[in-house]
Subunit: 371 residues, 2 copies
Amino acid sequence: MRTPSPDPTPDQAHIGVIGAGQLGQMLALSGISLGLSFTFLDPSAQAPAGRLGRHIQAEYDDELALEQLAVECDAITLEFENVPVSAVASIARHNQIHPGERPLSIAQDRVHEKRFFESLGIPVAKYHAIDSFEDLKSAVADLGYPCILKTRRLGYDGKGQVVVRHSDDLEPAWASIRGNPSILEQMIPFTREVSIISVRSTRGECAFYPVSENQHRSGILHRTEIHMDDPAQERAEEYARHVLDGLDYVGVLAIEFFEHQGRLVANEMAPRVHNSGHWSQNGAVTSQFENHLRAILGWPLGSTACTGHSIMINLVGIIPPRAPILALPGVHLHDYGKEPRTGRKLGHINIVADTKESCRKYATLIEQMIG
Amino acid sequence: MRTPSPDPTPDQAHIGVIGAGQLGQMLALSGISLGLSFTFLDPSAQAPAGRLGRHIQAEYDDELALEQLAVECDAITLEFENVPVSAVASIARHNQIHPGERPLSIAQDRVHEKRFFESLGIPVAKYHAIDSFEDLKSAVADLGYPCILKTRRLGYDGKGQVVVRHSDDLEPAWASIRGNPSILEQMIPFTREVSIISVRSTRGECAFYPVSENQHRSGILHRTEIHMDDPAQERAEEYARHVLDGLDYVGVLAIEFFEHQGRLVANEMAPRVHNSGHWSQNGAVTSQFENHLRAILGWPLGSTACTGHSIMINLVGIIPPRAPILALPGVHLHDYGKEPRTGRKLGHINIVADTKESCRKYATLIEQMIG
């Protein structure tokens, strides 16, 4: 058992991170500037962040590895929400970990997540928990078509989801879900999808980034645009504050909403730094990565204000040649250093410009380059 | 001998850096985002940048280590100007290294540097090369008091310099220089010291950052302020362009000037990223570190425009507690992760604000905190 130090978060703290993907890498790039050092726990030898600190190569349920991480670090966090809750509990016996078990267990189960949003008065799409084909048929009878069947657990980037538009779709949909505990949700004919990146520190200080408008391609985030003075800002902040305070949450948390007839309907939340907040690396005074670290260390949060008009474009499957991209002013490349693979997020491009028009012009040019 | 690849600077290049101090660390933090990886050559086991890539722990004249660096990297650069010229020559036999032998050998000798500036029509203070006490006496007779005696080689942060104000100072000054080849310079009653960070790529593209106004304490840079539309900008750019083109230079190069009666008088140059350019990490569209990497890789240079009013303050000998610093808006801490030691540069703080007034207000608060 670690003896709590008199200063639980020393200025040159050593941070433990469960997961060593690109989010871990960007946390480290941000934190090393602040004088922090890092240890990552990740089973993959090729994990991008592994080279930016110590890499404990072990499975997420390896008790010895978890204890090692807990004991050698001053504060522990995670970069993806599917870390086993038991791993978080195991670390919590030795040291502080943020976010903790409760937000994680809620975010890992779409039914718990919906119920949690409802408990806070945050609108969600109508839904039913599905444990059998009978459940599915009666849920469809209630919700009508179209609706969407999702596994309760372990879905991401559109995986584990299937749209049900017609009674003929029911059997294939159920088969594709392989009988896993699922949720059937009414499909909302939304006008746009927005998300908010919020952050709350160990001292209870909260900050909210400007809402982003997100476009997906094949279930993967493709493009995020930030609108200063977005009409959805006030309501999104209100909901995010309910979630942060309701969970006594610490760190960055993202919530995705559908906008439907001027209302925000919560889709899901991610208890971590989030792809729709990557624009903040170049387009905000303080990035989501730095603010996540400030939050878990109890440091004052940094300003979330925009420094210009921002668009982020994901690089999926391929990183285009650099020279024509870097020739555009205000364009910043972030390459995660991963092996290219179809459908894999390899990097992103942040565009910051003085005006919405020039920002969109460069975004269009970049979309042409990436095809 | 390395076989030149058809694409000499692949997009995910491996960069070799001679030296692994804070400048190397900041180059790496910037380059890893761009998809680059790094190998550092540095004799110190504690060198800060060593943890951000492969660290070849060897002396700078270790021929085997130099060859290893040359052969395993796609492009090689350096983070301090006192790398032995023979080391650069040794690498140049195997691979490209920027900056190369000529700028380095000029920058390493204050007399060569002065002559080089003169050859380009860039004003310098009156000076004499000093090889003996007799030389010193006759030089003083020509230049008058006060003047400043500096070793020709290996001076930095005010080390190897002594002011001569009176004939009684001559013998102690000569003794303090220990008979090393030196230069006696007229002391210019300058109104301010400014520097310009310039960059030139392998393709000959040049870019210039806004001139910074620098204040020193005990010979060490203390504070840098950026004035947009500084009256010295045009002339400083003109001189920097002469230097860049005159050397067929590649990479970032800094030139320090004294401003005297509205004229710029060149003091010295640094063929590397420079402390007076650190503000660009948070206050410019593209940092000097990213532009140095873009330059040596032949990529288009990024915009050097300011994103606000910027002041940088060095943290020498001590890093103050973070919380009160980070509570100020637009304030960015850069901690090099080094062991504290009197007179050692441990980090810096960049302040970016919309107005000169608020930027200076925060700078004053920070100066009070660091004492």
